[in-house]
């Protein structure tokens, strides 16, 4: 796959590593704006084509190569630049446009611009803190490519356990694994005691409904 990765900072480094792992034989092109980073990236990713380019010339590069590019990943340290590059990629029908956010508050702006995939690296802070501190509900994973969502729910009372069981019985496409207070993992709701957690997985709207149900039970 021919991927254009723009940027030479931390986000770009991890993106390049991930691309290399997924598609080791793929054609990876990295564009950077400083010569020092271009040299460093060439050494770190010897099989990639690392280009030095002026900030304002990148859009032309995307336009000229849009027929061959499979994906454009904007991972510079500026969200406004990322937005510019993704917008050009989208307008020129590059099939996959990805932006890695620097400021999660800009998420809605990217969404409004209909960028394919918006990666918020800071989202993991909330998820992990919720997990560590035992939040009543936590959306652990929400797929960017399909409708799948995984969430954890702490079973704080019998009513919640009962509601969860009946919801799981009702929906064939929602599955769950239960973790007891002592850490045992089971797929059977009957083996779960209060204080444990349920990790539920299924279509986003159904998971959201279950989470709302859990929130309501906890609030009561």
């Amino acid at each position: 796959m021919r991927v254009l990765l723009i940027g030479g900072g931390h986000s770009a480094y991890f993106a390049a590593r991930a691309i290399r792992e997924i598609d080791p034989d793929g054609h990876l092109i990295i564009i950077e704006f400083t010569r020092e980073k271009v040299e460093m990236l060439s050494r770190t990713f010897p099989s990639a084509e690392v280009l030095f380019q002026e900030i304002d010339r990148v859009e032309d590069y995307i336009k000229e190569n849009s027929e061959l590019l499979d994906a454009v990943i904007a991972a510079t340290e500026s969200d406004s630049l990322n937005l510019r590059y993704c917008r050009v990629a989208r307008e020129n029908a590059v099939p996959i446009t990805v932006s890695i956010l620097n400021n999660p508050l800009n998420y809605e702006i990217f969404k409004k611009e209909k960028i394919n995939y918006i990666i918020d690296p800071y989202r993991v802070i909330t998820i992990q803190l919720f997990e560590i501190l035992g939040a009543p509900v936590n959306v652990v994973f929400s797929s960017l490519v399909n409708n799948l969502e995984i969430a954890s729910v702490r079973i704080l009372n019998e009513k919640l356990l009962h509601e969860l069981r009946s919801a799981l019985d009702k929906h064939d496409d929602v599955i769950a694994a239960f973790v007891s207070r002592t850490g045992e993992i089971s797929s059977s709701p009957s083996s779960v005691s209060l204080g444990g957690s349920a990790y539920i997985m299924g279509p986003r709207e159904k998971i959201e409904k279950l989470l709302q149900l859990s929130r309501n039970v906890v609030m009561r």
Binding site: R2, E67, L68, D70, R90, N92, A93, V94, P95, K114
Partner: protein
Amino acid sequence: MEPETLNLILRIISAVIVLVITYFLSKHARLSFEKSLSRFGTGFASKFAEIARYFIIFMGAVIAISILSLDVMAISIIGAVIFILVLVSMRDIFLNMAAELYLAIRRPFKENDWIRVGDVEGVVKSIGGIDTELITYDGDLVIIPNSFFLRHPVINKSQSIARRIEFKLMMPRMDLDRVKETVQEVMKEIKPELLGDPELISIKETGDKVEVIMSLPIVNLRKLRWLSAKIVKAYHARGIDVEIE
């Protein structure tokens, strides 16, 4: 000429002048609205401008009729005729509006999806209030009125990132082991442009030629032509002339 007849002629001339002025005024208003509202999106601007134009025409028609001072029956008939004419002339707009509603509620595709509708296939560049823009394999921009989606089935091919495209190669008859070897080499050469491994589907002899079918997982279908040229070039470098069907 009798004063009544003269009066009627004058009224008719006045009504015609009002209609002519209304026509030019509505045209000018449409252009002005389109220009001034374009910052809210071209789709919205042209739709609003069109509605404003018909409103001005309607008002002009009402004034012209009042100048003619016709009786209630005649006014009713003219009103009905105008109403029907407006309905007929705005048929496409109503259809496009219905289609916009359909696209908004049913969401058969979104921007960047690869779709096929009628004879057109391409990536959805933008979905507007009146039309949808597609970019085809060849990079051509095709503008499709939204009403077209009400009449033709839409095939959304964007369920997976890569699509497997089968290539049929015809080459001069030669040892099948050699064919297999070159196919593997060429597939290795083009692999960096694909997402996943290319597959050799079949090799068979047909007359004085060898037919090779391979399946390539391609993300950007617009690179098909370039990829075909690359395959031909790769074979050419090995001294084999191939044709791609």
